[in-house]
C-alpha cells in the first residue's frame, strides 16, 4: 500500500508540472501591462522600467519560467500589486475559509445525501424515490449563486436568522456565518450523492451475496448497511471526489454572494483589479488543490477496494 501511494504521488508530479506550465503560459498572454496597472497611468517610463526590473518582468521568458517554478516550490508569490501585501499571506488568510466551506458543504451533502439515496433505493418507485427524482432534477438545474441569493434574501435579509455577509469571529461565529453558504453548496451535493448512492446500491442489492445474507436471516438493516452499502462505496467515493472538486469552483460564486472571505472571492477580486501576482498565486493554489483532491480519491480507492492495488 505505501509503495502504491508513493507511485501515485510520483504520477502527480508531471501532472502538476504541466498544470503550472499552462498557468504560466495563460498568464503571460494576459492583456494589459502589469507595470502600468501597478503604478497607474501617470508613471514615467523610468518608473515603469524600474518596476519591471524589480518584478523580474524584463528577464527573458525562460528565466521568468524557472523563476516562476522556483517561486511555486518555495511558495513565494511576491507581493500584491495593489495592496502590497504578501500574496502568500493573503492566500494563507483566505484559504481556511474556502476549506471550511468545502468541508461543511460536503459534510451536509454526505450526511443527508447518502441516507436519502439509501432510502430511495430501498423504497424504489415509492414516495422517497419520487422525491429524490424531483429533488435531483431541480438541484441540478438551479445555479448555486441563485440559490445562495434566494437563501440570503429569505433567511438573512427578511427573517434575519443568519448574518448577511463576512466570515465571522471565533469558532461559533464562523460556524454561524458558514451555515447559509454551506447549505447552498450542499443542495447540489445532496442531489448528486443521493442519486449516485441510489444507483450504486440498486446494483449491489441484486447481487447473490445480498440474497444469501437475506436468506440466512440477517436483519434488513445489516443487509443494507453492512453487505450492500460497503460494496457500493466505490462509485460513491468517486462521486465524492468529483463533488469536492465542483465545490472548489462553486465556492467562487457562493463566496461572492455572501461576501465571504475565501480563495474564490480573492481570485475574482484580483481579476477585476488585474492584480497580476495575486491572480497567479490564487490560480496556482486552486490548481494544487485540484491535483491533491484527485490524488486523495485515487488513494482512497485502493483503501476501499484493495483489489485495485494489486
Amino acid at each position: 500500500m505505501p509503495s502504491l501511494i508513493a507511485s501515485k504521488l510520483l504520477d502527480a508530479i508531471p501532472t502538476l508540472w504541466l498544470v503550472l506550465t499552462l498557468v504560466f503560459v495563460a498568464l503571460r498572454i494576459l492583456p494589459g501591462d502589469p507595470a502600468l496597472v501597478a503604478l497607474g497611468d501617470f508613471a514615467t517610463p523610468e518608473q515603469l522600467a524600474l518596476f519591471r526590473e524589480q518584478a523580474g518582468l524584463d528577464a527573458p521568458l525562460w528565466q521568468q519560467y524557472f523563476a516562476f517554478l522556483w517561486d511555486v516550490v518555495t511558495f513565494d508569490f511576491g507581493n500584491s500589486l495593489i495592496t502590497k501585501e504578501s500574496v502568500a499571506g493573503v492566500i494563507g488568510y483566505n484559504l481556511p475559509f474556502t476549506v471550511a466551506l468545502a468541508i461543511g458543504a460536503t459534510a451536509i451533502g454526505v450526511i443527508i445525501g447518502v441516507p436519502f439515496g439509501v432510502l430511495a433505493a430501498v423504497r424504489k418507485n415509492k414516495a422517497p424515490d419520487q422525491g429524490m427524482r424531483v429533488f435531483s432534477l431541480v438541484g441540478y438545474a438551479i445555479p448555486d449563486f441563485y440559490l445562495g441569493a434566494v437563501l440570503l434574501i429569505v433567511f438573512a435579509l427578511n427573517l434575519k436568522l443568519f448574518p448577511i455577509n463576512g466570515g465571522g469571529e471565533g469558532f461559533w461565529g464562523q460556524l454561524y456565518h458558514l451555515a447559509l453558504p454551506a447549505i447552498t453548496l450542499a443542495v447540489l451535493k445532496i442531489a448528486f450523492l443521493g442519486r449516485l448512492t441510489r444507483t450504486a446500491l440498486l446494483e449491489v442489492l441484486s447481487k447473490d451475496y445480498v440474497r444469501t445474507a437475506k436468506a440466512k436471516g440477517a436483519p434488513p438493516k445489516t443487509v443494507i448497511y453492512k453487505h450492500a452499502l460497503r460494496n457500493a462505496l466505490l462509485p460513491i467515493v468517486t462521486g465524492l471526489g468529483l463533488s469536492l472538486l465542483a465545490t472548489l469552483s462553486g465556492a467562487v460564486a457562493v463566496e461572492l454572494v455572501f461576501n465571504r472571505p475565501g480563495l474564490g472571492s480573492t481570485l475574482i477580486k484580483a481579476i477585476a483589479e488585474r492584480d497580476y501576482t495575486l491572480i497567479q498565486g490564487a490560480v496556482v493554489v486552486f490548481a494544487l488543490m485540484v491535483v491533491v483532491v484527485n490524488l486523495l480519491v485515487d488513494v482512497l480507492y485502493t483503501i476501499i477496494d484493495p483489489r485495485l492495488g494489486s
Binding site: 449563486f145 441563485y146 481579476i271
Partner: protein, 293 residues
Amino acid sequence: MAAVDISVTPDAGEGKFAVLRKLLFGKVSTTIAFITVLLFCILAIFAPWIAPYDPLKQSFLSINKYPSLQYWLGTDQFGRDVLSRLIHGSRTSLLFGLIAPACAAVIGTTLGVLAGFFGGLIDRIVSKMIDLMMAFPELLLAIIVSAALGGGFWNVVLVLTIAFVPGFARVARASTLAVRQEPYIEASMAIGVKTPVIIFRHVVPNIAAPIVLLWTLWIASAIRLEAALSFLGIGTQPPAASWGNIIREGLGNVFGSPWPIIGAGLAITTIVLSINLIGDAARDMLDPNSSER
C-alpha cells in the same frame, strides 16, 4: 453533471422522425419541457418585438418598482424594466448555449477522432490533455482562462469552448476506437481507400449520433456556465443584459428590489431543467441500460 458517456449508436431501424416524435411526445414531462424550450427560443428570436420596454432605457422616476400591471416583474435600480431585460437576456444565454458547445464539438471531435483513429503518440498526447483538463471543474477552468483573456462575446465563447472540448474529445475518441474495429473500415483500408476519405465517409457519420446528443445535453451546461461567468463579472459585460449579470446587479441592489434576482434565476433554472429533462429522455431511449429507473 449533464455530460454522460454515450458510446452506443441508436438503432437505425425506425425512421428518424418516429424516433424524434417518441422522444418528445412519449412522456408528458418531456413534452412540457420541449414546449418550454420552444417558448424561450421564440422569446429570444423576437425579443425586440415581444419585450414591452427598451431593456437599456433608464428612468429615474421609476426605480426599484415592485411588480405591477405596468411592469410585470418590476424595475431595477436604474428604472429599467426587469421583464424586458430578461427577454433580451434570453438572447445572450441561448446564443452562447448554441455556439459554444458547437465549437467545442467540432474541435473536440477532431481531436478525439485523430487520437482514436491513429493511436500512438497523438493518442497519448490527446489523452493526457483530456485527463488533465477533465481534472478541472468546468467553471474553474473557465475562470482561469477568463483571467487571461478578459470578457467580451468571443472571449466568452472561447472560454466555454475550452471548458467543453475535453468531454467531446473523450466521447469521440471512445466511439472512434469502437468504429475502427468494424469490418467495413478494414475493408476500406484493404481496397486502398485514402485515410481522409475513410475518416470523413465512414468514421465521422458513425460517431455523429453520440456527439449530437452530447451537444444538446451541453447546451444546458453552457447556459449555466455563461450565467455563472457573467455573475462573477467576467462574462457578458453590462449594460448588455445576461441572466447572470442581472443577478449580479440585483445582488448589489438587494435592499432595493429582489425581483431581478428572482426572475433571472427562475429563467435559468427553468430552461436548464427543461433541457436536462429532454436530455435524460434521449439518453434513456438511446441506451436503455443507462436508465436508472
